[in-house]
Amino acid sequence: MTTIEHTDGAPAPTADAGGEGESPWMRRLPWISGPVMLLVLLGGWQFAVSVVGVSEFILPAPGAVAGALGTLLASEDIWGHVGITLFEVLAGFGIALVVGVAVGAVLGRIAWLQRAVQPALVALQVVPKVAFVPIFVIWFGFGPTSKIIMAALLAFFPIMLNVMLGVRSVDRGHRDVMRGLGAGRWATFRNMELPTTLPYVFTGAEVAIVFSVIGAIVGEYLGGSEGLGFLVVSSLNALDAPRLFAVIVLLAVLGSLLYVAVTTVKKLVIPWHDSVRTGV
């Protein structure tokens, strides 16, 4: 018969570990795993280049990319491009968040409306946006507006659907409480549906932030002469593979940072939810 004493340093027992907060070890993990994963990635990459012999015009060596990244970061206008893309992503994401939560909350509550407009929303999503670039340009000009719309369009759907799921996952007992208190629509939303839905909103937002990056970049492919998407295409067309991959690295970093920002906000906003307490 052994006597156990759980002290702070030891890994927490798995039973109810969620309720007991996370060990400092867990909290530090990403700072260890991140670099490790990076090293593995770089190793595999270097292996592909030097052993498998993938052409450097398709996959340049990590060293060449690092050099190009250095050049890129040293140039003055890179921050302008990053700024433009960041602005488009954030604006698109913001619009998608607001509209997605509003539409999702309304459709989640009003089933007949949801049935009525769902097909249109889906069609809106799958329609290839290339076809509408001239319309966008005529209506919104060459500026960032059309890219913002693109980002917002891609980001909107996951948020909306998750909010709908969230609004419908409201506990029946909780709903009874609010109805019993005669709470109005707004109070019900504010005190019950929103908190219930927030974990869903955040999952939607995690998907959406990633898709807004994709949307903004694709928007930049299709038109305009600014932003990281533009740099991708111009590097690609100039057959400048190291620069291309340097931009890709920048994009990956940007996307990951935005994603981490969303999960960080999640941790602050919904500390009570299991999805927060058991990790990211």
Binding site: F57, V137, I138, V233, L236, A241
Partner: protein, 322 residues
């Protein structure tokens, strides 16, 4: 698929088209296929599409396809600036097929007029943009003074012109013909009047060009293209009846839906086929001139030997007459 052969002993090879194959730009390939010129040379050619020339170059360099047809400008930049082991082995379209379209009320008919204009390009940093630099450069306009804007390619881009969002935009030969017919207000500028760059060359990787077996396939490919080009040029007399019928027998080319426009475009292509010293060969002098032009606007380092990026002896020699 190098080295593979079909059941009837024809050798397989892959050609990369950088636009959808079903366009008159690829008439030579389509005729070589439908008229059996490839088969007659013992080839079974597969066409694969990549979006734009950069992936085509990469794919050829990787050995996943034997040959592609891209602009001479891209070829030189890839080989000269990036050091890519890419070589040109032939040239069917000797005159540039890019055109600059503007609207009648602010027509652009000379290179010098591009100064200060906003020009739409189908894609950023590619041939079209450099062609524009060359055109502007030919009139002493520095590239920085021609503003440009990626507008992509869509039926509605012309309306960006009419609404004043852009001053001109760059299209392909077929599109310019079509625009002239459907949009009376369209004014087309032909950059060939100002520059010699812009030809379309058959490119492959140096390794492929040096492998004797592959060389043989390339030679036969170019011979079939030579046949096709001659066929189309000869067909001009009958109004391209045979050409159009043959292509339509296997391919649904949207442009053939309007035979008048198609004939007009084909006439343009034939002019381009017959615009060189030989039928499908590359003129070293013009190649050198093109290099000088590109180096002149700083897109290529000076002092290189462009002949390094040519492999002679693959394209058949001989001229076409119209």
């Amino acid at each position: 698929g190098a080295g593979d052969t079909t059941d009837d002993g024809r050798q397989r090879m892959t050609f990369l088209n950088i636009l959808p194959l079903e366009s008159l730009s690829y008439s030579a390939e389509l005729i070589a296929d439908t008229k059996g010129f490839f088969a007659a040379r013992g080839l079974d050619v597969t066409f694969e599409t990549t979006q734009g020339s950069a992936p085509a170059i990469q794919t050829v360099l990787a050995g996943s396809a034997e040959i592609t047809r891209i602009g001479d400008i891209e070829t030189m930049i890839a080989a000269g600036k990036r050091g890519a082991p890419l070589v040109a082995v032939g040239e069917a379209i000797h005159r540039g097929t890019l055109r600059m379209v503007s609207a009648r009320d602010d027509a652009i008919t000379e290179a010098g007029q591009f100064r200060g204009k906003l020009v739409g390009t189908p894609s950023e940093g590619g041939t079209s943009s450099i062609t524009l630099d060359l055109v502007a450069g030919s009139a002493g306009v520095p590239p920085a003074e021609v503003r440009r804007q990626v507008v992509g390619l869509a039926p509605g881009v012309f309306d960006l012109l009419t609404t004043g969002r852009i001053d001109a935009y760059i299209v392909s030969l077929d599109t310019s013909v079509q625009l002239q017919r459907t949009r009376p207000e369209a004014v087309v500028y032909d950059p060939n009047s100002a520059i010699s760059a812009g030809a379309q060359v058959y490119a492959t990787s140096r390794a492929t060009a040096q492998d004797p077996a592959e060389q043989d396939k390339l030679r036969r490919y170019m011979a079939a293209i030579d046949d096709a080009v001659r066929f189309i040029a000869a067909d001009q007399a009958t109004g391209f009846q045979a050409t159009m019928a043959s292509i339509s027998s296997k391919y649904q080319v949207p442009a053939l839906g309007d035979p008048e426009t198609a004939r007009e475009a084909l006439r343009g292509y034939v002019a381009s086929y017959t615009g060189g010293e030989t039928s499908v060969g590359i003129s070293p002098q013009r190649w050198e001139r093109t290099y000088q032009e590109i180096a002149g606007i700083g897109q290529l380092p000076p002092g290189l030997d462009p002949a390094q990026w040519l492999v002679a002896g693959i394209a058949p020699t001989g001229t076409v007459t119209r």
